[in-house]
Symmetry: D2
Subunit: 189 residues, 4 copies
Amino acid sequence: MTRAPSPVGTAAASTSYLLENVAKILSVDRSKEIADSVAILTSAKKLFVYGVGRSGLAARAFAMRMVQLGLDCYFIGETITPVVGDGDAVLIVSNTGSTMSAIQVANIARRVGAKVISVTGHPASKLAHASNVVLLIHGNGDATQARLAPLGTLFEAATVLLLDGIVAQVMERLGQTEADMRGRHAIMV
Amino acid sequence: MTRAPSPVGTAAASTSYLLENVAKILSVDRSKEIADSVAILTSAKKLFVYGVGRSGLAARAFAMRMVQLGLDCYFIGETITPVVGDGDAVLIVSNTGSTMSAIQVANIARRVGAKVISVTGHPASKLAHASNVVLLIHGNGDATQARLAPLGTLFEAATVLLLDGIVAQVMERLGQTEADMRGRHAIMV
Amino acid sequence: MTRAPSPVGTAAASTSYLLENVAKILSVDRSKEIADSVAILTSAKKLFVYGVGRSGLAARAFAMRMVQLGLDCYFIGETITPVVGDGDAVLIVSNTGSTMSAIQVANIARRVGAKVISVTGHPASKLAHASNVVLLIHGNGDATQARLAPLGTLFEAATVLLLDGIVAQVMERLGQTEADMRGRHAIMV
Amino acid sequence: MTRAPSPVGTAAASTSYLLENVAKILSVDRSKEIADSVAILTSAKKLFVYGVGRSGLAARAFAMRMVQLGLDCYFIGETITPVVGDGDAVLIVSNTGSTMSAIQVANIARRVGAKVISVTGHPASKLAHASNVVLLIHGNGDATQARLAPLGTLFEAATVLLLDGIVAQVMERLGQTEADMRGRHAIMV
């Protein structure tokens, strides 16, 4: 006799599912793409990040760390966004790789001579094609995905952890300490 | 002879560190607090979420799912925020539990008869004291934390996964499917 | 002998220029378009507003008042944006009427059966063509415009005042008082 | 026989009311305060702006122009906000001058050696007291204010035009042209 999972258990089952599948996704060797990304991020004149919806939130979380690491980094679409130019770099997060504004940002960036790094679930997408470096987050949904990690949840969780890993590597490359980062922490009222 | 970790390896080391420590943090039994949270979230008239910095991003990611689950949910501080009232619920994310605006939101909410759920790293904080339910995220930083997960990174990653777990449980409680959620997905241009 | 305007005088000259030219722009009879807009805004199931850059800020300012008037109103692109549907209305602000995302929002809205009101400087734009009601803000730049009201400043200032006028008319139509609106004022921390 | 104003007429009456009263408010000589503000804005290392609600939108509109004028300007509370330091300047918009976070931002700014410019309706407020320069926007509400310009509408409209005037003066001081500003216009997708 089967029974439905208890309401209490579903949250725990979901986090376990996410931890297990994010681990699987991130176990793929991306050392070359990460090294290329870190090289671009640490040599660009200015950094820009972009994404819509929950992908945009993951991108913003990354941007905050770049600022704390002393880099000039902006989120496209917020109040303060200088113009993208030659020698800059743009990191774009989009699961489908087909969000129109994400593609447009990538194309504008390439046209002016900026480098594009994309985090996407679709290597054949227009966004991926417009990118200098593609960080692929590919998770095959199984039977429980729709129930335990609906919509893009798995992609988004993996992106958050992948980008936090890149933060650590940029930090090391720049010789920054946690104390340095704390010293650049924005006013939080 | 020891050597510094290769630049490439640091990102992978960081994500491993995060996965391992988030798993440890989330392995603590929170079934009662989660059940209480889900009960509050699914019975409130309106939901509000709040947080500043990266904690605010985790809160926003949660709010987007609540809207897709058909609940009236708002992020305090954005353009569109109705007034909080009796019978509403507010979920606040703050690692320290001492961010002034977070405490103020909690106090205002309690005064008008709204329930407060907090996600915090400090159970003795003013925010925790003002809360009806405290979801504690407690991770002792070890020697590598400052290098692999600087500042609040571990708290934030654990919060994202904990809240995604709660999403799955709210989804189940409300009898919602992934298709229902997709049907409420905002325009993404 | 001519001399450059004193630094102090330029700000005053600019505000005078704006006041005079906004007055001229808003003196054109828009009573039919305003009545149509108010009818749409007060009969829609849900309201959405959209705009990018400073046009988006004017749109947000309008949305806040709609919420204070008791209407369900959302800014497209923020955390909390339900799906647009049949019977809803969307107000879009775009000077050129050719911003790609603005046109896309208008087209999606029309496709699902929502009404579109646009505030634009270009009556022949794609945005205007996709709209049920066009609120035209047309100001011919003269010799001093570039110096005293650079870029879209005149359009934006006129939009702010036009939309505040529409707020007053919606307020009257709904029989709302200032006290009613204050009672719906969001938490401001 | 009196009759209620026609629904159509209320919007026009409101914009007339705003134009007339904004003109009156801005006719007060602020040349010294404006000159002081422009001197601070153009000599600061970095600029920050802050405000909540509709005041915050007016502040954001100003910040966008500062960026287009080539200054390093940030909105406190958005994703990208570097730390405020000695030699920086903060412009804060708050009608009451008593919004807690606005006061906190001002106090933090002063403590680290940054200059504070405030736009406020209350010269005796805590915010005004914490400011190096106060741009006072003082409009006595008359009998029709509550109906034609509810809540802070008049303050906000006057602030938008006052700040656009200051933009023109900063532009002149820096020798910037409209074309220079267009060249720094952010990507608008």
